[in-house]
Amino acid sequence: MRFVAFSSRNQKEIIRDPLTLLFGIGLPIVIMWLFTIMQGNMPMELYRIENLAPGVIVFSFSFLTLFSGMLLGKDKSSSLLMRIFVSPLKSSEYMIGYTIPLFIIAFIQIIVCFITAFVLDLQFDWNVLVAIIVLLFNALLYISFGLLLGTFFTDKQVGGLFAIFVNSSAWLSGTWFSLDMIGGLFEKIAYALPFVHAVDSTRFALKGEYSEILVPSLWVLVYTLIIFIIAIIGFKKKMKS
């Protein structure tokens, strides 16, 4: 159970940085509130809370990518990781140790965002619980992206790359506009990537359309597995280099 000690250390490192709370939890609340006000003045129903909440929660997971990438990148550039590499921890335990605290932060993000959504008129029913499970599964995708970035880049590089990641994942997720409004190659690229599938699976769960969840979730699963495997292999190589 050595990874428990490592994950506890990682959790403390992340939580003790106040920017974590500000961006990871505060920003999604503000966004949800602002877009709900906008919805009140719009003729279309694009930002109805049932549609908006899943997208904003998935968007908030982008910050998990930032937190995991920055932490791993920072550890890599300090001698602390050398100390840990010398210890009996295995490479898979590192990855679990980095993933667990972020998974807990994801859970907090989901709960806080849903509470905000209820205040903004989202109806509570059992579908919310199913959506929470789907969201936790989707959070792993964003954590894996962070571990991938942190494995191959420094914390400073991760900061720069995150700007590209957060923009492209947001644009290609179908949260802020319907992808068929642009269509063509843009839509094809979006559906070849996992972000829109993460949002779609959550929206289906929240609507209670359970039979529709499987396909987008498979997209997310395959991407998550591939990215985790690349990150672990890359990390193993870094340990030996």
């Binding site: 250390r9 100390r83 010398v86």
Partner: protein
């Protein structure tokens, strides 16, 4: 024998970094490895601590081969890396407990071990201080305490007093002095007075090769020189092979 090296070599393509290193270090011995930058000291330590795989040769620590039994070796060793290796947002106590736990101690054992280390290193009144707010000297002291908390049989100290002021260096020397006979210590340093004051035996490396080996007095009489500095300069001059 604590450490047994037979023709240990490490090369990167054409470049030989450690060249046919053969050496024996007794249990409880305080051994200093000297050399200019790029002499191969850190690479040697990295091979002995299972961070790098040797290109050829053999390294055995307390009866276990570093290549074939790294998990057994890792339980018996610890390292204080060149730069201070601490978790910045964790307190002194949390840093110590964290390392104890990744070496297999349970919560209660980790708490007790951390308390013992804080007493030994006079860190008790700083127990709740975040590591990043400590001065350089105290951070280095914490870093060494973290290396000792796992009760290693072999301890690698990579330039432990680099960048410290005279007082902080002397205080650390006093701490390191107390380890003599209890733990096998392999120290790399650029400070020749440090090696002379602390080490039972000294090895001088140049261009990956061990150029001299013995106590400070043995080296002086062999080389017919009065100071370790003169010996070091003559053995590490450009052109010496």
């Amino acid at each position: 024998m604590a450490v047994l090296l037979k023709n240990l070599s490490k090369s990167y393509k054409e470049k030989v970094v450690v060249d046919q290193l053969t050496l024996e270090i007794k249990q409880g011995e305080f051994f200093a490895l000297l050399g200019s930058n790029g002499a191969g000291k850190t690479t040697t330590i990295k091979m002995l601590s299972c961070l790098l795989t040797p290109t050829s040769g053999e390294a055995v620590l307390l009866g276990d081969n570093v290549v074939t039994s790294p998990h057994i070796v890792k339980q018996k060793i610890n390292v204080s890396p060149q730069e201070t290796a601490i978790a910045p947002n964790l307190t002194v106590k949390e840093n110590l407990e964290f390392v104890a736990r990744i070496y297999g101690a349970n919560k209660e054992q980790a708490r007790q071990l951390a308390k013992n280390m804080m007493e030994q290193f006079r860190l008790l009144d700083k127990a709740k201080t975040k590591a990043k707010t400590l001065s350089g000297g105290w951070q280095r002291r914490l870093s060494i305490a973290m290396a000792l908390i796992s009760n290693p049989k072999v301890l690698f100290l990579d330039e432990p007093t680099l960048g410290l002021d005279v007082r902080a260096r002397r205080e650390l020397w006093n701490i390191l002095e107390q380890l003599k006979g209890k733990v096998t210590v392999i120290l790399t340093t650029h400070y020749l007075d440090e090696a002379e004051s602390l080490a039972d035996r000294i090895g001088i490396m140049h261009q990956g090769k061990l150029q001299a080996l013995g106590t400070a007095n043995e080296l002086k009489s062999e080389m017919e020189m009065d100071s370790l500095e003169d010996i070091f300069l003559s053995l590490t001059e450009e052109g010496v092979k």
